[in-house]
């Protein structure tokens, strides 16, 4: 089946998300849409999948124009989609999730899931998925959930499968397995639209690459094109991803974590016996695939977790068991991983958000009486300093772009003297210009002699910022390695394999930096 998008344009109000995009997906081909976050890839695919109606343009299947009024039409036409955030009902079984929307029934609408179970087993055997049709989805690991999503599409006889950033939540090993599955599907005649911004994967698996930037197709490339070329096409200019930063001058170790264990509500040890230190003037980057205990680690430090044991000391003082307020008062600056949920109050003004954790401290408050004038003054200063693009200090923070929201959070946390700075996913969903700016601020904070801890699932960000790299896997510390450790070593560590356990341990510092530089286009 040949799929063609012709002149697809999608507007949201005044915002142009897709601008006359033309893409042709040939039958039995893996076609990659490459573009940085916010380039408009997902919007395009949502148009193709019938979730959005295109403002202009048409979709053709085997040369015939089609129009989708909803995902149902798209599925009927043979298009399946695996969303970046899985579209699975957690409290349903695999079979129920697969059947949903196209349920086999007996008389009078009674469900008959036996047929669905059979199909699931069939597909599962064919591709080696190992999925139990009667397992509850919420009990399955993400990797398996993703397979359920693929099964969902295959059960519906998808001829074209859209995979939207499928590797974001996978370990390198799981990623490799997925790439294998994609090749198998291709061999079976399924076309795949692979959406990604990770150049390595794209190069490895694609037949054709279309690069999208700011809602437009800026060109197409062969998988053999060099990483740097692809990166600059994607970003729109020559990319230099090495941050110019002076070597760290670590001083005394003021932040110590010992035997830290966090037990989640469901009883799992989500952080399991962690011990590490951070010195003043150094950046420790915590790497790992999403969901391996990073969130709980930062929350434990901040005092947001209930069941925590071990010890966390800053400047010799124990932080464990103290309230969030006390921890912040001890000089901890914290940039949470999800700014919309944890970092900002979207309906509050920028000015209010800039004092969200300082509102009761002088000069912003005397006793319980706040000083709006001071808060406004502070806002103006921070907005200038961090170049926050906002209509005014009184604009609601939720209306700003992601990068500007992140600047607000960062500006707030860096606006007071810190004894420890923790930033979780500091540049997630942030445009390239802001990334550079934010990275420079983080390094500047380090250079002022603050211990800095960066948590990032983007390996490139880790490699760029870190003075030392700690890798978490299933809540445990796999190891701490120096900056400059190779991507392959880190990749294995992220899968839980310590370098010492390898047959030929890689000397950590022996990998030349330029290699990672060239590959570094990945995360932008």
């Amino acid at each position: 089946m040949k799929l063609e998008l012709r002149g697809i344009t999608k507007r949201f109000g005044t915002l142009l998300a897709n601008d006359h995009i033309d893409v042709v997906v040939e039958s039995g081909q893996i076609h990659c849409l490459l573009g940085e976050n916010g380039a408009g890839k997902s919007t395009l695919m949502n148009v193709l999948y019938g979730l959005y109606e295109p403002s202009e343009g048409e979709i053709l299947i085997d040369g015939k124009p089609v129009s989708f009024r909803g995902p149902g039409d798209a599925m009927a036409a043979g298009i399946g989609m695996v969303h970046q955030h899985f579209m699975l009902v957690p409290v349903f079984t695999v079979a129920e999730n697969v059947a949903l929307g196209a349920e086999p029934t007996k008389a009078a609408g009674f469900l008959n899931l036996d047929e669905t179970r059979r199909r699931i087993r069939e597909i599962s055997d064919q591709y080696g998925f190992d999925v139990d049709p009667d397992a509850l989805v919420e009990d399955l690991p993400v990797g398996v959930q993703q397979r359920v999503e693929i099964i969902k599409a295959l059960v519906r006889n998808a001829k074209v499968l859209i995979l939207d950033e499928p590797t974001a939540v996978l370990t390198p090993q799981e990623t490799d397995e997925l790439l294998d599955i994609m090749r198998q599907l291709k061999a079976g005649g399924t076309s795949i639209v692979f959406i990604s911004h990770k150049l390595r994967e794209v190069k490895e698996v694609s037949d054709t690459i279309t690069v999208i930037r700011r809602g437009k197709v800026v060109g197409s490339a062969e998988p053999s094109a060099s990483t740097t070329d692809l990166a600059s096409m994607m970003v729109g200019r020559a990319v230099s991803l090495t941050l110019e930063k002076a070597p760290a001058k670590p001083q005394e170790k003021t932040f110590e974590v010992r035997d830290l264990t966090v037990i989640a509500h469901n009883g799992q040890h989500v952080v399991d016996g962690l011990s590490f230190d951070i010195a003043r003037g150094e950046i420790l980057a915590v790497a790992g695939v999403q969901g391996n205990g990073q969130t709980e680690l930062t929350e434990a430090i901040l005092g947001l977790q209930d069941r925590v044991s071990g010890s966390i000391t800053l400047d010799g003082k124990e932080l464990l068991g103290r309230s969030v307020k006390d921890v912040l008062k001890a000089g901890v600056g914290f940039v949470p991983e999800d700014r919309k949920v944890d970092g900002l109050v979207g309906t509050f003004s920028v000015a209010e958000n800039l004092v969200l954790d300082l509102y009761d401290k002088p000069p912003y408050a005397k006793g319980i009486s706040m000083s709006p004038a001071r808060i406004l003054e502070n806002a103006k200063a921070r907005i200038d300093e961090f170049d926050v693009r906002t209509p005014s200090a009184a604009a609601a923070a939720g209306t700003l772009s992601g990068g500007n929201q992140q600047k607000v959070v960062m500006a707030r946390e860096l606006s007071r003297p810190l004894r420890l700075f923790i930033a979780s996913q500091p540049t997630r969903g942030v445009d390239v210009g802001s990334i550079e700016f934010l990275h420079r601020r983080i390094v500047a904070e380090r250079d002022q002699g603050t211990p800095v801890m960066i948590i990032s699932t983007e390996l490139d960000e880790v490699m760029e910022l870190a003075d030392r790299i700690a890798v978490l896997y299933k809540g445990k510390l796999v190891g701490i390695v120096p900056a400059g450790t190779g991507r392959d070593v880190l990749g294995l560590m992220m899968a839980g394999i310590h370098p010492d356990e390898q047959a030929h341990p890689q000397p950590a510092a022996s990998r030349p930096a330029p290699t990672s530089d060239a590959e570094g286009g990945d995360h932008v």
């Binding site: 949502n46 709006p372 009184a394 772009s401």
Partner: protein, 462 residues
């Protein structure tokens, strides 16, 4: 209102790909609503708040959200139109049951003007009576009598305002305080008891009555806060149940000799001591009492609390995004308990206004329906202190006028409930009101496409 994690947002919500998280919908007004909801709900992570998103931020000097701008950009206009629309529908309801309308309808096709005149007359007659009973009665014998209705409006508005402030304050902290009714009752019990059972010097006695009432309401509200904070029980269920518990407790007390008049067994308490009641502000000819002045004071206090104090900042932050508030070091449990206690205390002032001001005795009708009306008052006032004050006055006027309306025209008081609830419904759905009045911005088709390239590049890259 789920506090559970919502299902994951659709693809790329935070990654920026679908940053313009507006739906494709047939009209701009709906998109606008959706955009506001999106800001309001942290991108869908929470249910929509009771407080309009535009009202959740504090009022900073120099902000763009001036009253003038509000009026011109619509929310003030929508409020006026909503009230108008509700009155029209109420008028039609009145007319539909009017006998004259019914008789003219039988020959509608012969003489439609008769019918229309009858409809107009039925509705306006009731509303004129309502107005005369609420604001100004030109047929009064003296100036004092002419203004008596207005004084009555203020009297009835008093408990509405304070209880409304309690509900509004809780709304701002993200809590649905359906429990003003029970809080008024408990406050009434304590205040009345202090008022008739203790005999204290002038001044001190009234002060103690006031304190007892506020403490009573604060305890009843605070208890909900404690249960909510400690067990996670939902405050809507808790407050509804607490209303009934308070009511039955009051009925029980009124059946015990301690709360009955000596030698009688009617469920009515002794009259409060003269030293325990609010002085009447404009003399004995009007029922208006000191409680109204206190209500103004409470409004000022709540305004200051919300917009100028750290406590209010915490309330608002917890209400708008509890997770961000907690991450910023705000103790959410403490805020929940505190805000419910203060809300209860404010409702308690209404209880005091009832027993020490208007009624001077305790009966099982002490709270009337003030506690429930307070919810609509707070909603109409968009949960801002002065908005609530104004809404309290409006609904007070409806209540006061409705009594006169029923006497003069036989229109049942219930019409006020209809109008009141319609107003709140319409105000909550501005696109509906605009659609009714044909004010929805026309959807401009490709006219604006040309300039959007630049917009896309700045917005899309987020």
């Amino acid at each position: 209102m789920s506090e559970q994690h919502p299902p994951k947002r659709p693809a790329g919500d935070e990654q920026g790909d679908t940053q313009p998280a507006k739906p494709h919908q047939p009209n701009l007004a709906a998109e606008e609503t959706a955009a506001v909801v999106s800001v309001d709900t942290a991108g869908g992570a929470m249910g929509p708040s009771a407080v309009p998103a535009s009202a959740q931020s504090g009022q900073l000097p120099g902000g763009p959200d001036t009253l003038l701008r509000k009026i011109f950009t619509g929310s003030g206009m929508v409020s006026v139109l909503a009230v108008f629309l509700a009155l029209v529908i109420g008028g039609l309801l009145i007319a539909s049951t009017d006998t004259r309308v019914a008789s003219t309808a039988s020959y509608f096709f012969a003489r439609p003007t008769d019918f229309l005149t009858a409809v107009w007359n039925a509705a306006t007659r009731s509303y004129i009576a309502l107005f005369q009973g609420a604001v100004f009665n030109p047929r009064g014998n003296s100036v004092a009598a002419q203004f008596a209705p207005f004084m009555e409006t203020l009297t009835i508005a008093t408990p509405l305002i304070t209880a409304g402030l309690g509900v509004a304050l809780a709304f701002r902290a993200g809590l649905f305080n359906i429990g003003a009714q029970g809080q008024i009752i408990v406050a009434g019990i304590l205040a009345a008891w202090v008022g008739f059972a203790l005999h204290l010097p002038l001044g001190l006695h009234l002060l103690l009555v006031l304190v007892a009432g506020i403490v009573g309401g604060a305890l009843w509200g605070g208890l909900v806060g404690v249960l909510k904070a400690r067990t996670g029980a939902h405050e809507v269920i808790l407050t509804i149940m607490f209303n009934y518990i308070a009511l039955y407790f009051l009925r029980y007390l009124l059946n015990t000799p301690a709360f009955q008049r000596p030698g009688e067994s009617n469920p009515i308490s002794p009259i409060l001591d003269p030293s325990a009641v609010y002085p009447q502000i404009f003399g004995s000819q009007y029922r208006l009492h000191l409680g109204f002045i206190l209500a103004i004071g409470a409004t000022v206090l709540v305004w200051w609390l919300l917009n100028r104090s750290t406590v209010g900042f915490e309330f608002r932050a917890v209400g708008a995004n509890p997770k961000a508030a907690q991450t910023a070091g705000i103790n959410v449990s403490r805020s929940t308990i505190l805000v419910m206690a203060i809300a209860g205390g404010l409702a308690g002032m209404s209880g005091v206004a009832q027993v020490a001001g208007t009624e001077k005795v305790l009966t099982d009708g002490v709270a009337a329906t003030y506690g429930f009306d307070a919810i609509t008052v707070a909603l109409l006032g968009r949960s801002t202190p002065w908005g609530t004050f104004a809404a309290g006055l409006l609904f007070g006027a409806f209540r006061a006028g409705a009594v006169q309306m029923q006497i003069q025209t036989g229109t049942p008081i219930d019409i006020v409930l209809v109008v009141q609830s319609l107003i709140v419904l319409f105000i909550a759905a501005p696109p509906l009101v605009r659609a009714v009045f044909g004010l929805n911005p026309r959807r401009k088709k490709p006219a604006r496409a040309a300039k959007s390239t630049k917009a896309a590049t700045t917005g899309g890259a987020a």
